[in-house]
């Protein structure tokens, strides 16, 4: 059974596009990244999956359940962290967490305390007095407390300082080892690259590609940085497979996706003084998809 299975999912708000013909699926136990710039449709997809909004067409299932018909069953198995965390101002953090947990049955107090400790959160504070980052921590505990089978995280690291982000990723790793599926939406590619098995790239409401992170970063796509001899700064290289060519003074930067032997033989008679060939970051891979 797929953890998430989305088929041609489309959502229009009146005549304006939310998402269009999104199709992909997530295996159980997978940590799946969902990346794209702001406004690409990431949150729209998530809100449709949780049935806050109704799909215009298409269908989707989560852990075998239909997102519209079986929404309540789904929400029992899912932990959701919204990108902007808004809670009841009259509650303390601990009140909110107990209130949240009461919808699933009994409150797992030891787990709540343990998570709060790990994230260094004072549960006795009023929510309205908490900083943005601390509210996010309440949100993270709220999403994980009832031990869901699927975690849906919308921009989870926003507001967390680097140290907390590290702790957060450790928590995610713990969940992954328990077999929890994670659906991780972000516009920060390096963090997706760090934790995810596969990513879906979305742009302007449409799915560009679903790819494993290792394939994306270890594809034949290479980042080539060449330092040219002085006076040769207008030298251009023409070769099949060059995706992008940038020039910065003496330096020539290429994204190359062709035959590596051809590239090497071409480099052989180039007027260069230095060269570096690297794996491109996901960011660069993404920019390349984004520009195409």
């Amino acid at each position: 059974m797929k953890a998430v299975d989305i088929q041609e999912l489309t959502k229009f708000y009146g005549s304006s596009r939310g998402i269009q013909d999104i199709t992909f699926s997530i295996e159980e136990g997978e940590v799946f990244g969902f990346i794209g710039p702001n406004g690409a449709g990431k949150s729209t997809t998530i809100r449709t999956l949780l049935n806050f909004i109704y799909p215009t067409s298409g269908r989707a299932t989560i852990l075998g359940k239909d997102i519209v018909r079986d929404s309540v069953d789904i929400r029992r198995m899912v932990g959701y962290l919204p990108s902007e965390v808004h809670y009841y101002d009259d509650m303390k953090a601990v009140d909110l967490l107990r209130y949240s947990a009461s919808f699933y049955g009994k409150v797992d107090e030891p787990r709540m305390k343990k998570l709060a400790e790990q994230l260094d959160l004072d549960l006795g504070r009023k929510i309205e007095k908490l900083s943005f980052g601390n509210r996010k921590k309440v949100g993270i505990i709220q999403a994980m407390l009832h031990a869901p089978r699927l975690l849906i995280l919308d921009e989870p690291t926003g507001g967390l300082d680097p140290l907390m982000q590290h702790t957060f990723f450790e928590l995610l790793e713990e969940e992954r080892q328990k077999g929890v599926t994670v659906f991780f939406s972000s516009h920060i590619l390096s963090e997706v690259q760090k934790v995810c098995d596969r990513v879906a790239i979305i742009k302007q409401g449409e799915l560009l590609k679903v790819e494993s992170v290792s394939n994306l970063t270890r594809s034949r796509l290479k980042k080539v940085m060449i330092t040219l001899e002085p006076g040769m700064s207008d030298y251009a290289i023409r070769l099949e497979g060059i995706m992008n060519q940038e020039r910065d003074g003496q330096e020539l930067r290429l994204l190359f996706n062709g035959d590596i032997k051809q590239l090497l033989s071409e480099l052989g008679h180039m007027p260069l003084v230095d060269i570096r060939i690297e794996e491109p970051s996901l960011e660069e891979v993404f920019m390349h998809y984004y520009e195409r």
Binding site: Y13, F52, V72, R75, F103, Y104
Partner: protein, 266 residues
């Protein structure tokens, strides 16, 4: 029951404040009556001092101000129906729309609760508080009557008034609830439902003042619970007991139909 209990706790303070305020109003007005009843002439003078139109609005042309219930209908009931309607509208429209305006609805909808359950528990909490609020009015009024020993009160007519008032308040609660289920801009819901109460009250006043506007009486629920009619006839008329429950049913029913199907975004 989680949501129901939470709403009861959250809305307790306003209930206490409104109940206390209206109790004070009732007791003060009725103590004025005790003073005035001693000098019957004074009451007649008071009545005569009002212009004829005003008398009609407050039912003073038909109600006997020297009678406890007559006085109650003019001076107290007219206030408790209006302020109680305002309370009911604020309570019921806020109970749903606050989740929207404070953006907590996203939290709530991610929990395993159906929208039907959200609506039912919130509506139940609002209606229970409207009932409690009305019980307070009834009890305090009854106490004030008991303190007036010079006159016997027609208790059955008083209960009719109280029943009419409860129906009216419940109808405005249903209207406020309906509004908050259909409107997306949650911050405008409170002024709109408050405005609804005020406009309908104004229509009631205006239609009573002017004969040429009297056809408008039928669109305002205040007309259906008019103290003058009820005290005079000793019954609720058929229209009153059908129109108001109808508003209640249609208001809450369509709230369910719409809220279950609409997109909820923050």
């Amino acid at each position: 029951m989680i949501l129901f209990r939470r709403e009861l706790r959250k809305n307790l303070k306003p209930l206490l404040i409104w109940s206390a305020a209206l109790s004070a109003l009732i007791l003060i007005m009725m103590s004025v009556f005790t003073q005035m009843a001693k000098e019957a002439e004074l009451l007649e003078q008071l009545t005569a001092a009002f212009p004829e139109g005003m008398l009609k609005v407050f039912g003073m042309d038909t109600l006997n101000m020297a009678d406890v219930l007559g006085f109650y209908g003019v001076e107290v009931y007219s206030m408790t129906t209006l302020f109680g309607s305002i309370y009911a509208a604020i309570l019921a429209s806020g109970i749903l729309s606050k989740e929207q305006s404070e953006k907590t609805i996203e939290f709530l909808l991610s929990k395993p609760v159906t929208r039907t359950r959200i609506l039912t528990e919130k509506l139940a909490a609002a209606l229970l508080y409207v009932v409690i609020f009305n019980l307070v009015i009834i009890v305090v009024s009854a106490i004030s009557f008991l303190m007036i020993q010079s006159q016997e009160v027609d208790w059955s007519r008083f209960m009719l008034l109280s029943l009419a008032q409860l129906l009216l308040h419940a109808a405005f609660a249903a209207a406020g609830f309906f509004l908050s289920s259909i409107m997306n801009r949650s911050r405008t819901i409170l002024p709109v439902s408050l405005g609804l109460v005020m406009v309908l009250y104004f229509v009631f006043v205006a239609a009573n003042l002017s004969d040429s506007l009297s056809f408008l009486l039928y669109i305002t629920p205040f007309h259906y619970v008019d103290a003058a009619d009820i005290l005079e006839s000793g019954t609720l008329n058929v229209l009153s007991v059908t129109v108001i429950p109808l508003i209640l049913l249609i208001g809450t029913g369509s709230a369910y139909v719409i809220y279950r199907r609409r997109d909820i975004s923050v």
